[in-house]
């Protein structure tokens, strides 16, 4: 197996992009990554597109084939990778394995989703199609609903409070104001969404006990990276970032069939595999992008990957340990909570944000000084298909 480096990264601002088609967004992000890699007019050997919903939302299939045509990456191999909200992470994994195997040298991985094309009512249904088709979906369960039931159990077992969840909302939306690619660029006022008697108007219950500002937005967006063997990357001008570790694990589709529904086993296993491959420990990570589709998930994942003991993640967040300058800065991009969550794009966008961190390219108010190692966690379904990547800055 060859060491694989990320030599180019790019993304477009997430949000509501009525003016762009899904293919526009995939093309713009891809071109940014190609340019960032300095590949100019050169082609790539293969293209992996992470996307969950083009078939349902745009009535469009085989989008990878369309993309290589549009970008004139012909005759590159191309395919779409669908794995729910972990589609982006799965696309990165496919690109990684293709280069590591020695079969391809240059690979474009791009993730994208256009969700605002349909009403919120339809988008909620679209995301809910990943639930069990007989035992869950017909009841009207939604992913926020799954998260609500999970949160209730997590609160009872580990003493997580709304105050802990609030710390995630405040931090991530504050970071979103500093990220030009973020969907939500609005800092939250604690009084307005939590302390004031009117807070329930500004921040109503969405999926009890979760409130509106515990949830990520529904977004359009795309992000892309270019991969190649590390040995070839050393000839390029920008510092390459090594994919030092990767792990993926699955769990039961329904929460009720897990021995302990608060135990996100797939997160733990995916992270353990990634750390093992990278020969690193959670304490060696300097910055992380975790899948905070709901505030509870940032807390739970920060515990399951090993940054904090079970029951300590919420307290760590309120103590500022996950802010810039803290013990382990998490979601300095704003996370899904503020950067947004175009489902197929998210896993790639997390990697792009960590690449920027490890290349030390971000402004001081978002950059972890001297960051060498980063972690991403891309959470599919309700924790039933999870990918983790450990990235490392390469010293040339």
């Amino acid at each position: 197996m060859r060491d694989v480096a990320i030599i180019g990264a790019g993304m477009i601002p997430f949000g509501r992009r009525d003016e762009d088609t899904l293919m526009d967004m995939l093309a713009y992000a891809s071109l940014k990554a190609l340019d960032d890699a300095g590949l100019g007019d050169k082609s790539v050997d293969a293209v992996y597109v992470g996307n969950m919903g083009a078939g349902m939302l745009q009535h469009q299939s085989a989008i990878a084939s369309s993309l290589v045509d549009r970008l004139n990456l012909l005759p590159a191999a191309a395919e779409t990778v669908e794995n729910g909200p972990a589609s982006g992470g799965s696309a990165v994994k496919n690109g990684l394995l293709a280069v590591a195997s020695g079969y391809y040298d240059y690979v474009l991985v791009v993730g994208g989703e256009k969700m605002r094309e349909v009403t919120g009512w339809r988008a909620t249904d679209f995301v809910a199609t990943m639930t069990h088709p007989q035992a869950e979906y017909p009841y009207g369960i939604t992913l926020p609903g799954m998260a609500g039931m999970f949160t209730r159990l997590y609160m009872e077992k580990y003493g997580v409070t709304r105050e802990h969840l609030l710390a995630i909302s405040l931090k991530n939306q504050e970071m979103g104001t500093l990220n030009p690619y973020a969907h939500v660029e609005m800092a939250l006022d604690r009084d307005g969404i939590f302390d004031s008697p009117h807070a329930i108007v500004n921040n109503p219950v969405s999926a009890d006990p979760l409130h509106l500002y515990d949830l990520c937005p529904v977004s359009d967006g795309a992000a892309a990276i270019i991969l190649c063997p590390l040995e070839m990357a050393k000839k390029l001008t920008k510092p390459p970032v090594l994919i030092a570790g990767f792990g993926q694990a699955t769990d039961t589709q329904t929460l009720q069939e897990r021995d302990d529904p608060t135990d996100l086993k797939a997160v733990t296993l995916a992270a353990q595999k990634a750390f093992e491959m990278a020969k690193l420990k959670p304490g060696d990570i300097h910055v992380a992008e975790l899948h905070d589709a709901f505030t509870i998930l940032e807390i739970a994942e920060s515990e399951h990957v090993g940054f904090f003991k079970k029951g300590e993640g919420g307290k760590a967040a309120t103590a500022g340990k996950t802010r810039l300058g803290g013990q382990i800065p998490i979601n300095l991009s704003g996370g899904l909570k503020a950067r947004g969550h175009p489902v197929g794009a998210t896993g790639v966008a997390q990697v792009v944000d960590i690449v920027y961190q490890l290349r030390h390219e971000l402004p001081k108010n978002r950059q972890v000084q001297k960051a060498e190692n980063g972690l991403t966690v891309n959470f599919g379904g309700f924790g039933n298909n999870v990918l983790a990547f450990v990235l490392r800055r390469v010293q040339l």
Binding site: W121, Q134, A135, T142, A207
Partner: protein, 118 residues
């Protein structure tokens, strides 16, 4: 007319593990032989939520949904017949029934409903 609860759970003939929904191989021992089991008696509410942002197909203000465990240990999701989450508590007893849970293409779709037992 009261309808029978039309879900079936599957008990592994080798190790006894209960499954709902169906799996082709046991989640514990990977055996492929199962005995069909029907849920029995009342149930205990394990967790719940009130969803206010509903998916397409649900034209109502909010929906109460939970997971409950029947007396013979089968666990399943269902809608909850209550006015608000204030009437619910983890661990409370609920009475199961098989009722319309949504309308699709003009037809009632039946499923589990749980009603709190005072």
């Amino acid at each position: 007319m009261k309808k029978e609860i039309a879900i079936t759970a599957y008990k592994c003939k080798k190790c006894g593990k209960l499954h709902y929904p169906y799996h082709d191989r046991c989640l514990a021992c990977k055996s492929r032989e199962f005995e069909q089991i029907k849920p029995q008696g009342n149930a205990k509410l394990l967790t719940y939520t009130a969803i206010f942002n509903l998916p397409w197909g649900f034209d109502q203000r909010f929906l109460l949904i939970g997971v409950a465990e029947f007396e013979n240990k089968i666990k399943a999701m269902g809608q909850i017949k209550a006015d608000s989450v204030d009437q619910l508590k983890v661990g409370m007893k609920v009475k199961p029934s098989w009722e319309p849970i949504r309308v699709q293409y003009g037809e009632d779709v039946y499923g589990l409903k749980f009603e709190p037992i005072p």
